[in-house]
């Protein structure tokens, strides 16, 4: 084989391996490759570089499991951004989402304080009617659980120390507190 041929062909080997050469040039390179094992091997190696790169990395079944797990939070994020998600759009021109993800987030956060304020306000009114501040009612409920009041034997030890009227007032306020909490829970739920 002719070394000057090798030098002439060398710059063409890479585009040849990629199939980028025009037919005339490719035919010339092929003619040389049939005679020159050195250049032929170079082409094989050049092709091998790309094919082995394309084959790396190989995913294991553990990788696939991880991939599936990783896709769930993405889907959840999608649902958060598109709360109306649930099915394909009706026929017709598709529309852009009404809200940016930030707007959606704000919208999702906003109802929570509103509900809580409502519950607080209702609880406060009921307690105020009974002559208790909301905070006080809540604290009373913690001291004397409403469920226990019907059973004297489970009453706290301090019971005998309380005057009878104070005790019944406590019982009433505890019942109110329970109602208020239930309503609050309903409103929040």
């Amino acid at each position: 084989m002719d070394r000057t041929d090798c030098a002439r062909v060398a710059p063409l080997l890479e585009p040849y391996a990629d199939g980028d050469l025009p037919e005339v040039l490719a035919a010339g390179v092929e003619a040389h490759l049939r005679e020159c094992t050195h250049c032929a091997r170079t082409v094989v190696e050049l092709t091998a570089v790309y094919s082995s790169l394309a084959g790396w990395p190989t995913l294991t079944s553990a990788d696939h499991t991880l991939i599936e797990a990783r896709q769930e939070p993405l889907a959840a994020y999608y649902r958060a951004c598109y709360p109306e998600a649930g099915g394909p759009a009706p026929a017709g021109a598709p529309r852009a989402p009404r809200k940016s993800p930030w707007g959606v987030l704000v919208d999702r956060l906003r109802p929570v304080p509103r509900f809580m304020l409502g519950a607080l306000a209702r609880g406060g009114k009921a307690a105020a009617r009974a002559g208790w501040s909301f905070v006080r009612v809540q604290r009373t409920r913690n001291v004397v659980p409403a469920g226990r009041l019907a059973k004297p034997h489970t009453a706290p030890r301090s019971r005998s120390a309380l005057p009878r009227r104070a005790w019944s007032l406590l019982a009433r306020s505890a019942a109110i507190a329970r109602r208020v909490t239930e309503r609050g829970a309903l409103a929040l739920g």
Binding site: S52, L53, W56, P73, A75, Y77, C81, P88, S100
Partner: protein, 192 residues
């Protein structure tokens, strides 16, 4: 689910996504998640980092839906976003001075230090796969060389196309590619 059938082109899936069709989004994940993951993996050489970058790409897909120009294939957009994220992650890695595996690919000297680090990467994976040599050799390339060679080898893009994606002159793409390939060839054929 008719939405997730593979007959719909990406363009339609993107339009459905905008209308709140979760299945369409999941269909896009089915189609492109592994592609993006492998791209990030090849770029960073680290699976877990690639996983995180992939999450970021698909999160950005959701936030970009309103602005996205529906194309027949979503892949060019995903590829561009993923590459940009990888390149900035790699340059951040370099800035912070973490175990840096991609060095001196640009000018080709400093071979010694590079080989040290390549060996570290290689040791971890050598026993497992025949392809580990490619993985290790990839880490001896500069991030841009890596991007160029991936786009050529895996995606089969033309020099002009690669130049546009990476915002480089075509000549630079060609020289990156040639240098990267030589290095990879020597690594994978056991040197010569």
């Amino acid at each position: 689910m008719s939405v997730s059938e593979p007959v719909l082109p990406d363009r339609d899936l993107v339009l459905l996504c905008r209308d709140g069709a979760e299945n369409a989004y999941r269909a896009l994940l089915d189609r492109h998640y592994v592609y993006v993951l492998k791209l990030c993996w090849r770029m960073t050489g680290v699976r877990d980092e690639a996983m995180d970058l992939t999450q970021e790409v698909f999160t950005r897909l959701i936030t970009s839906l309103p602005r996205l120009q529906p194309q027949p294939s979503l892949r060019p957009w995903l590829r561009r976003v993923a590459l940009n994220l990888c390149l900035s992650a790699l340059s951040a890695r370099r800035r912070i001075g973490q175990a840096e595996v991609c060095v001196n690919g640009q000018d080709g000297d400093g071979e010694f230090g590079a080989r040290d680090r390549v060996d570290q990467v290689a040791q971890a994976v050598m026993a497992r796969e025949r392809l580990s040599r490619v993985a290790a050799a990839m880490q001896s390339l500069s991030p841009v060389q890596r991007a160029v060679v991936i786009l050529k080898a895996v995606d089969g893009l033309s020099h002009g196309h690669i130049a546009r994606i990476l915002d480089l002159p075509q000549g630079t793409v060609k020289s990156h590619l040639s240098r990267a390939r030589t290095r990879l060839r020597h690594a994978t054929s056991g040197g010569e």
